[in-house]
């Protein structure tokens, strides 16, 4: 029970926690299990990359804020307009999630049988529904839609073949791939404008 609570307090990134528990329960080596959980957590670095722009936190605050850099806080912060709203979104989401996540972990560790089958209530779909609702406003142009579409294909297509956590990272490649194609198209248009048709012919 202490171990379950320590996971929520110290790791605080759900997918990694589930991966670790799952791998350990299946009798996996602790270091292999930790590696899988780590891979699932790597995406938080990319979130931090984006968040440091929109939040512009003072250097001294960053080590503390870092613990709350997760799917949900990123999604909420980036959905806000302006730095103030983004900071409020980040803090409120981080605080409420951190408290509730750890409180419910404790309750769960104490005895979850009383709750019955949570799946029957359809609560497992709340996560993806929240992600979808937060993702939708980001899909402003064809570029974002292309990235999202390619990411879905990669994430689902690679799922049966790669270890847990890796397909999501592979799906992140959709961003540079689409940027590359977009860059080449822009380059091609530029060349055509300058009167050179060679660039167009190559494609």
């Amino acid at each position: 029970m202490w171990q379950t609570c320590a996971l929520s307090l110290l790791v605080f990134t759900g997918a990694s926690q589930f991966a670790l528990v799952g791998a350990l329960a299946a009798g996996g080596n602790p270091l292999t299990a930790a590696a899988g959980a780590f891979f699932l957590g790597v995406r938080n670095a990319f979130y931090g990359l984006r968040l440091s722009q929109s939040l512009a936190l003072p250097r001294a605050v960053r080590p503390f804020a870092a613990h709350w850099v997760i799917d949900e806080t990123t999604a909420v912060s980036l959905a806000q307009r302006g730095r103030r709203a983004a900071r409020i979104g980040f803090t409120v989401t981080g605080l409420t999630l951190y408290l509730l996540w750890n409180l419910t972990t404790l309750l769960g560790a104490l005895g979850a049988e009383a709750l019955g089958d949570t799946d029957a209530w359809g609560l497992d779909v709340a996560g993806p529904a929240v992600f979808l609702a937060l993702l939708a406003p980001m899909l402003k142009t064809a570029v974002e839609r292309a990235v999202a579409g390619l990411a879905v294909l990669l994430g689902l297509g690679l799922l049966p073949f790669l270890p847990a956590g890796v397909p999501v990272l592979a799906a992140a490649l959709a961003a540079p791939a689409v940027l590359y194609v977009e860059g080449r198209r822009a380059g091609g248009r530029e060349a055509a404008r300058r009167g050179g048709s060679g660039q167009e012919a190559k494609r």
Binding site: Q3, A6, L7, L10, V11, F12, T13, Q17, L20, P30, A33, A34, A37, F38, G41, V42, N44, A45, F46, Y47, G48, R50, S52, Q53, L57, R62, P63, V69, D71, A75, L78, A120, G122, L123, D124, V125, A126, P128, A129, L132, A133, L135, L139, E144, V147, A148, G149, A151, V152, L154, G155, L156, L159, A164, P167, A171, A172, L173, A174, P176
Partner: protein
């Protein structure tokens, strides 16, 4: 004891990557390509996560009540429903489909 080692390694690793993203120098982020890239990455990651949490059961792809729930959420979004209503629609439809026998 082994479990504690796994917990410690995971906690340190996960914290380190979270911090690494935040500490990238601001100068690098001023460049337009980096800015564009950092804006598109969460789109890719969120899209992939949404799809996996809806259509994956472990490492197998499945089509079950969750897909109906997510479709309900998508419809609610297209109708510009408020955020909580979108999530409630997804949960209600998923529970409904399961109750009927999905």
């Amino acid at each position: 004891m082994n479990t504690w080692i796994a917990i410690g390694v995971t906690a340190l690793g996960c914290y380190a990557v979270k911090l690494a993203g935040l500490l990238v120098p601001a100068g690098l982020l001023e460049r337009p390509l980096v800015r564009r890239f950092a804006a598109l990455l969460p789109v890719a990651l969120l899209a992939a996560l949404t799809a996996q949490q809806t259509f994956a059961d472990g490492r197998a792809l499945v089509l079950d009540a969750r897909a109906a729930g997510l479709a309900a959420a998508a419809v609610a979004l297209l109708l510009r429903a408020p955020f909580l209503l979108v999530v409630a629609a997804a949960v209600a439809v998923t529970a409904g489909v399961r109750a009927v026998g999905g």
